[in-house]
């Protein structure tokens, strides 16, 4: 074992020499530790996978037959010279920050995270460390989320308005995590919740592993839209306005994403409405999460890296930008969050 840093940033992803493993690698490796099941973190082709028990079912659903092992939150495991444990990141159900300790020095790779408790994901837990790797998807002071309950009120008011005027409400959101979080925010008294196939497939996986979700009806080709007056349909954004959606007749469409905080993006992306709901930390969330780790060395990735790292440096931290294969600022990528 060399005296170099415990985690290094390679062209395959984050690498730990002491334990000879990678975290969220984007090229095939022998041993991959995965923070969560989103496609840009959990990729196919690795020889072995390690993820939380709660994250595995979705990964298996998406990646097929993988050689994967589960681990409980907080459970410590020795991998070579490194002591490894997974801790809730609050991003989506099953998501984790990965803590790596070698010779008393602690690094945390936080993956994607948010600090607000969404009532569905295991709530974010701050982990004391010396070196903290943070995302910065929304690392600008213009991003400040309102409390989830406030947004839920707006969302339900919109849905109720659609229902009252005889329109079907179409709500576009990422199929894993965001869609289920929205389901828990919706008021079932307004009407039935219908789901696109991609959303319902994830629902099935999550229900099977014991995560309670509100009742939904799969909006397949066989159902008759007129049997579901006042319905809200949850769908990946790509299906908004599609032939499948048009079958429902009079409708309004909305999009739920942190990017909806920006009027320009909202006008470009949203149909009729944009709701500001993100599974990533906002500016205040990022800063409080970093502060709570007590870390002095911060590695900034995914997002407004240059700006965010410069700000942290001014705050007296030793912050540096870590290149990733995926640039942040992905306001127009459908699976941005």
């Amino acid at each position: 074992m060399s005296d170099g840093p415990i985690l290094t940033f390679t062209d395959r992803g984050i690498y730990c020499a002491a334990g000879d493993f990678h975290i969220d690698p984007w090229r095939p490796v022998a041993r991959a530790l995965i923070t969560h099941g989103h496609a840009d973190h959990a990729r196919s082709g690795h020889e072995s996978y390690l993820a939380t028990h709660a994250a595995l079912p979705v990964m298996r659903h998406r990646l097929g037959d993988i050689n994967a092992e589960g681990i409980a939150y907080g459970e410590a495991r020795q991998i070579g010279g490194a002591r490894v444990s997974f801790h809730p990141a609050g991003h989506v159900p099953g998501s984790a920050q990965i803590r790596v300790e070698v010779g008393g020095e602690v690094w945390v790779a936080s993956g994607d995270y948010k600090v607000e408790n969404d009532g569905l994901s295991e709530p974010f837990a701050p982990i004391a460390c010396h070196h903290f790797i943070t995302e910065s998807t929304f690392g600008l002071p213009v991003f400040r989320w309102r409390p989830q309950a406030d947004v839920a009120r707006d969302l339900n008011a919109w849905w109720a308005g659609c229902a009252a005027s005889g329109k079907t409400a179409f709500l576009g959101a990422y199929a894993l995590g965001k869609a289920q979080r929205l389901m828990t925010m919706l008021d079932p008294a307004i009407g039935p919740i219908l789901t696109h196939g991609a959303v319902e497939a994830t629902n099935r996986v999550l229900r099977t592993q014991g995560i309670p979700l509100p009742d939904t009806v799969a909006a397949t080709a066989v159902i008759r839209p007129k049997d579901f007056p006042g319905a809200l349909v949850l769908t990946p954004p790509s299906a908004l306005g599609s032939k499948w959606a048009r079958r429902f007749g009079a409708q309004e469409s909305a999009f739920a994403s942190g990017w909806m905080a920006l009027r320009g993006v909202r006008r470009r992306r949203a149909g009729d409405r944009g709701f500001v709901i993100s599974d990533h930390a906002d500016w205040t969330g990022l800063l409080s999460a970093i502060k709570d780790t007590g870390a002095e060395n911060i590695y900034v990735t995914h997002g407004y890296t240059d700006i965010f790292a410069r700000y942290l440096t001014e705050q007296g931290l030793n912050a540096q930008v870590v290149p990733t294969q995926f640039e942040g600022e992905m306001a127009d990528r459908e699976d941005a969050e």
């Binding site: 002071p141 400040r144 009027r263 320009g264 006008r267 700000y311």
Partner: protein, 532 residues
Amino acid sequence: MNRFADLFTAIDQSTKTTVKVAALAAYFKEAPEEDRIWTIALFSGRRPKRAVTTTRLREWAAEAAGIPLWLFEESYPIVGDLAETIALVLPPGTRANDKPLHHWIAELRALGPLDDAARKDFVLGAWAQLGGTQRFVFNKLITGGFRVGVSQKLMTRALARATDRDEAELAHRLMGNWHPDDTTWHALIEADDASADASRPYPFYLAHALDDGPEPLGPPSDWRAEWKWDGIRGQLILRGGAHFVWSRGEELMTDRFPELARAVDFLPDGTVLDGELLVWRAGDDDPQSFNALQKRIGRKTVPKKLLADAPVVLHAYDLLEWRGEDMRATPFSDRRALLEHACADLPPDAPLRLSPQLDFADWDALAQHRADARDVQAEGVMLKRAASPYLSGRKKGDWWKWKLDPLTIDAVMIYAQAGHGRRANLFTDFTFAVWNGPDLVPFTKAYSGLTDDEFRQITAWVRKNTLQRFGPVRQVTPHHVFEIAFEGIQASPRHKSGVALRFPRMSRWRQDKPLAEANTLDDLNDMLRIYG
């Protein structure tokens, strides 16, 4: 201001015209009259004088948000709107204050004589009291420019619905030189003598582009043709012994074109002409290019030398009012006959000329005229239906512009900058270069012509291929070739390349074209020789 902010939200949230009109109509029925008139003013580009500089606003916003100024400045281009950036970085407001819109405007205007400290107190106080959208709207009142997807036409329709008045009449009432300070809701919208204002222009009728040639228009004998001049559309009004010149953008330009004052010597009072302002030197066969006119546009007072070098003449092509009578319902062929009669005895030194009609027996003959348009500095030909009245706005069917195909050149993108408003966070503003030996020489910028999807693709590419940043501008790896279309080319000592283009835009993303095969500076210079 909650009512106005709610109106703004309703309009901004919807892409549907019916929803916007309904929201506006309800507002025009319910809001206080002083608010209504300010709303009409704001949505038609009349705004209160700027009371605070944007530099101060940025500094105060950063301070109030507790962030360094550089961080504010970095955030601004990502949000793409200053008023919005400020509203977003500040801590949540209380929404405790619901003074009406006109009240806020009055307070803002009262800031004029105050010093910076007092202005700052007022602005910080407003920010603390106002909630999200109210705060954004307040900032917009200061920074100006309410671009919310409400056209004059849409607002007029809503007013017509709210007041049960005729849309065309309202459109005319809203034209011209009014300001909320010196009129009232009653005087502007309801009073009988609304046409008393001698300077009031008629709404312009705008042509549609004829993309597929004139054959579908029916028999050529139903139509009249003219050159499509490359100047400024203008309306000359002679009433009450005075003259007024309006641009199509509803700007009063009387003082910019003093030579038109002599028009009162040649035409009777109660005359309104529609035509094109062109720089045309005495004795020349053709007008000067738009470039020459551009020197005149920016000048509110014109130096003698410029007046002599670049004299402006109105080429009249329509007669909207004659001897005080509104002629717009009369067929074009009759208006034209009257116009020719009115212009029959103009001396050569008059600042007015009749824009000639083009003879054509069939569409092929007209196509031949069109092909010659560049020779007379025209952009193509106009077609007007002989029997048509003078409508308002861009109504399809009676007026068509049949423009020349643009000139094109294949160029390399070398710089990119993020857009504003709806295009915030997307790279949409590009600088293009052509080869000069081994070097790339920048020669134009272009912003439009790509689809949203193409802008998204190129944005992702720019992020991964940035070589250097200069503030909001990124230098990118020379790689992508675009076909740039433009209407004209002029020598320009101010540009490194030595040329300036008219209306440059991206006509195609040449993903098929290798970098080395983009055009050269020599190619540009050849075009300058032929078309310049």
